[in-house]
């Protein structure tokens, strides 16, 4: 009997028991879907969370402080800093030229008085313009908001300020807490207008210390958590620089603590997690202290790998269980079709003809189930990706992209077919060895 004839015979047999075959195929399809979806999501997580973010994202970010490195702290994620050392544009350009550096994002900070009309704070006993508790000191952090995806900033409500805006800010839950606003009510602050003041110290005509404020009004457009540098206010570079420059132009003898470095720090994105250590070393060679969560990332990477292995294992177990379903269905078929097999042999079928017919049945169930499962699994992965995308884009981050993992799909179909063949082997052998006398037994 040719393969084509065996296939035709197997197809007839499959079509004869549509209910049982459909259930078996569904079981295989569900297992294959589980397998495909899990592996797709795991590999997407691996690719997106680690590789994609690492190659130009916050995880591969190195914070550069306006301070010299402390030689005793090299290699740690958060080293103590050495003596202050201003970061100027020349230093920025030099660091940008280092091997392994993808992007250099300057960070500007400005010490800022925050006056929030209608709100009082209990953590400041100083008398402000409107009496005790009417203002707080905090740090405004200015970053290039056009490259926010590269920075460790997470938006939890509202939106980010427009790049270049001098009237919009985001605030952190820490700042809100100083006004007694809990995190769960943080979103209600969006839309509020606050007054922001930068102080410049100078000496009066009589030699006394005098401070003059530069006041602007800004609207809170979002709530963020950020780890670019410490500070409760996130704003555009231009708004922050205006405050910074106002303060820095003061008399150092009056306000010696004012940050006069053009940049408070840098956020350097390495081209990959693997080059983070070498980039850190190079930046420290330039003379600046750095910090990066590289040890933490290495741990996360290991955990993600473990999760990937576990998910793949669950998928394989599901496929194995489904293949037992195939074996069970075929064993039942052999039991039910003893007479039919006997007839086949009585009219001249060889053992291998019967074996071939049953193995084709198993393979067809495995292949069809695998194919349906792959399509279903990829669809599930896309649905999950759409949900994740919604979250990521709301955070101002780039969404994940689930491609069409052709290799995984083909491997799943082939794997399901091979497992089905393996599962079908015993029933098929049993069928092939049935004696021809079954044809005459009642």
């Amino acid at each position: 009997m040719s393969w084509a004839d065996a296939f035709r015979l197997a197809a007839r047999s499959v079509l004869r028991r549509p209910g049982r075959v459909a259930l078996t195929v569904v079981a295989v399809a569900l297992a294959a879907a589980l397998f495909t979806a899990m592996l797709t999501m795991a590999s997407t997580a691996q690719g997106r969370v680690l590789n994609q973010l690492a190659k130009g994202g916050p995880l591969a970010g190195i914070q550069v402080a306006a301070a010299a490195p402390d030689p005793s702290q090299l290699g740690s994620d958060n080293p103590a800093q050495g003596a202050p050392k201003p970061i100027d544009q020349a230093a920025v350009d030099r660091i940008a030229q280092l091997r392994g550096v993808d992007v250099v994002l300057p960070i500007v900070t400005a010490q800022t008085l925050v006056v929030w009309p209608g709100h009082t704070t209990t953590d400041n006993r100083d008398n402000g313009p409107d009496g005790p508790g009417s203002f707080v000191f905090d740090q405004m952090v200015g970053v290039d908001l056009a490259h926010i995806a590269n920075l460790p900033v997470t938006l939890s409500a509202g939106r980010l300020p427009s790049p270049g805006s001098t009237t919009e800010i985001d605030v952190t839950p820490v700042l809100l807490a100083r006004y007694g606003i809990p995190s769960k009510r943080a979103a209600r602050s969006v839309g509020s207008v606050v007054e922001l003041g930068a102080a410049r110290g100078f000496r009066g005509a009589d030699g006394s210390e005098v401070f003059r404020g530069r006041w602007t009004k800004a609207t809170i457009v979002g709530i963020v958590t950020q780890q670019a540098t410490s500070g409760g206010i996130l704003a555009s570079l231009s708004l922050t620089r205006a405050g910074h420059d106002w303060t820095a132009a003061g008399d150092p003898s009056v306000d010696g603590d004012a940050n006069r470095s053009p940049y408070a720090g840098l956020f350097v994105v390495a081209k990959g997690l693997d080059v983070v250590p070498s980039v850190r070393a190079a930046i420290e060679g330039v003379g600046y202290s750095t910090s990066a969560p590289e040890n933490l990332i290495a741990s996360v990477e290991r955990y993600v790998r473990v999760v990937e292995i576990v998910l793949a294992g669950i998928g394989v177990i599901a496929l194995a269980i489904a293949s037992l379903g195939i074996a069970n269905a075929l064993l039942a078929a052999v039991r039910e079709r003893r007479r039919e097999i006997g007839i086949l042999k009585a009219v001249g079928a060889r053992d291998r003809d019967v074996l071939r017919s049953f193995l084709i049945e198993a393979a067809v169930m495995g292949a069809v189930g695998g194919l349906l499962g792959t399509v279903l699994g990829l669809s599930l992965a896309r649905i999950v990706a759409a949900i994740v995308n919604g979250y990521l884009t709301s955070q101002g981050l780039a969404g994940v992209h689930v491609g069409t993992p052709v290799t995984l799909g083909v491997a799943t179909v082939i794997g399901a077919t091979l497992l089905a063949l393996l599962a079908g082997w015993v029933p098929a052998r049993r069928a092939a060895r049935l004696p021809a006398r079954e044809a005459v037994e009642q």
Binding site: M1, L344, V347, G348, D351, A439
Partner: protein, 265 residues
Amino acid sequence: MGTMDRDQVRSLARSGAELLHPIGVALHDPDGVEVAAVKLSHAYDGPTGEVPVLADLTVTVPKDGYAALVGPSGAGKTTLLSLIGGLERVQSGTLRVGGHDVAALEGDDLAAYRRTTVGFIFQNFGLLDALTALENVELAAMLAGERPSRRRTRAADLLGAVGMTPRADHRPGALSGGERQRVAIARALVNGPRLVLADEPTGNLDSDTSEEVMVLLETMRRERGCTLLVVTHDHGLARRADQLLVLDRGRIRDTFEPDAVPLGS
């Protein structure tokens, strides 16, 4: 090639006229085989030990012969037929069918013997429910590895010869008992066997249909020249054979010539 429909077969059978209508497509020159069993013994495993079925049975059916095997239930008729047909392995004794030492055949050789030398007709028709009448007939040729177009043509011709052309596309479940047995006869002939074994071919049929089926079988044997061995409980049917073999307790008790059958014995 001419064909007979059901009414023609019934009419001819009732008239007693000699059927000269050609049936089937000959694959080779009509030529039967001799069946020779010597000291054939066979036993099955039972719950309390071996159950002997055949005991030193010796019998010969001549080439192109037509033998009817009769006997009480449990006498070993179906077992003997199964041994001759290669459905059962020979345990003891010798069994030669034409040039084949059946006891020595195994594996693919045994399958080839069943496929090409023997045509088997079962009491329960032995048709596959998933296949149409045409496909059931085609099945034996398919197992022989014949090309689809050729085997389909031959199967259609054979179905026409047994008057089943209008029902060729029906599955067995949609056919009457007589129609099923006609399909089974066509299937038994599709590979041009030299020995046709029929196990109670009319056991599930009414008397009219039994008559039709036997007319078909006899005509086939006459036209094709093959050896025909029929197991039956029907003495009327048995009388039509050239040789009547009475089997009892695993042995051939009597052998009768035509017209010498002591009916009712």
